[in-house]
Subunit: 159 residues, 2 copies
DNA sequence: GGGGACTTCATACTTTAGTACCTATTGTGC
DNA sequence: GCACAATAGGTACTAAAGTATGAAGTCCCC
């Protein structure tokens, strides 16, 4: 049913337009006899159609117009330590023998993110993040994320 | 002349629309004779008008409608080199306006200690440590000890 | 001497974190 | 093909962390 709803949402305007056209054709077919009798009324007839379809066109356009996206850039101060000693990094990192995913989790964890936030950022479930974090703590020989952050910062193994 | 130009700019769409209508009426008046002969062609005639005015409506709407503006705020990170590595410490610390006890708690917290451990080290109850920590987080504008540690290390306000 | 901070502690509660254990899939190397 | 590591995810539980609110004492300053 979700599938059908999706199609409806994507094609609703076209569908509505089609239906309107169909109804209109029917109305015209039925009403043209009256107008053919009152031959002089053709101008009015045409005028009404013109107005109607103009309004319809305006309406369609209003529905379809894509909102323009205006980007506002807000400056945000970020303090970062000037990288002087920049090598211990690799050596200590290898010792820990972390897997790719574990390291990725550590990166975000060391930025102070919660498990839920990490899960969102890495497109993982909360369970998986917890599993990775738990394994990470064992490998790093720490007992909490707080200690993990402290150690990561101390060993300079964070990006 | 500027005055005239101003009026033109403000009313150009309406004027153009009026002109188009006038031309159309003329064309219709002239052409209806032919269509009245080919009576069966009325449907096609109506159809063409419908399509034409729909398109016209869309065009008018696109010209007149103010674009929907959707504002997206993007944070631009500006990396600031903390001036001289080992003095910001004091400056940043003062900004936070921490009390003595809060700062002591922060010290241990930033070493990765749990609330219980901090309580032991400072001879406080767990409640008190939690209270200090909570107030600390407010002053530091963070939401968890993880963020507090990260920020403390980044600002270099730990002993 | 009263108001305002800081400090200490408590209770009650909600939310995260963390652990343990299990299933399942996908590459990689032997 | 199969073992193995890595990845992803689930349930169920316990343990911390964090919030809210209130109470009480100390110290200092106007």
């Amino acid at each position: 049913m979700i599938f059908l709803k999706d199609i409806w949402l994507k094609t609703r305007y076209i569908t509505l337009y089609g239906l309107l056209m169909a109804i209109l054709v029917f109305v015209l077919k039925w009403s043209q006899w009256r107008f053919l009798i009152l031959d002089n009324a053709l101008d009015i007839y045409i005028g009404l159609i013109a107005v109607f379809f103009t309004i319809l066109g305006v309406w369609i356009a209003l529905q379809l117009v894509k909102p323009k996206v205006q980007t506002v850039i807000v400056e945000k101060e970020i303090y970062i330590q000037p990288s002087d000693d920049w090598a211990i990094n690799e050596a200590e990192l290898k010792k820990l023998n972390l897997s790719t995913r574990e390291y990725e989790v550590l990166q975000l964890l060391a930025k102070g993110q919660s498990n839920a936030e990490i899960a969102e950022n890495l497109f993982l479930s909360l369970s998986t993040v917890k599993t990775h974090a738990s394994n990470l703590f064992v490998k790093m020989d720490v007992k909490s994320r707080a200690q993990a952050i402290e150690k990561a910062k101390r060993l300079k193994i964070t990006a």
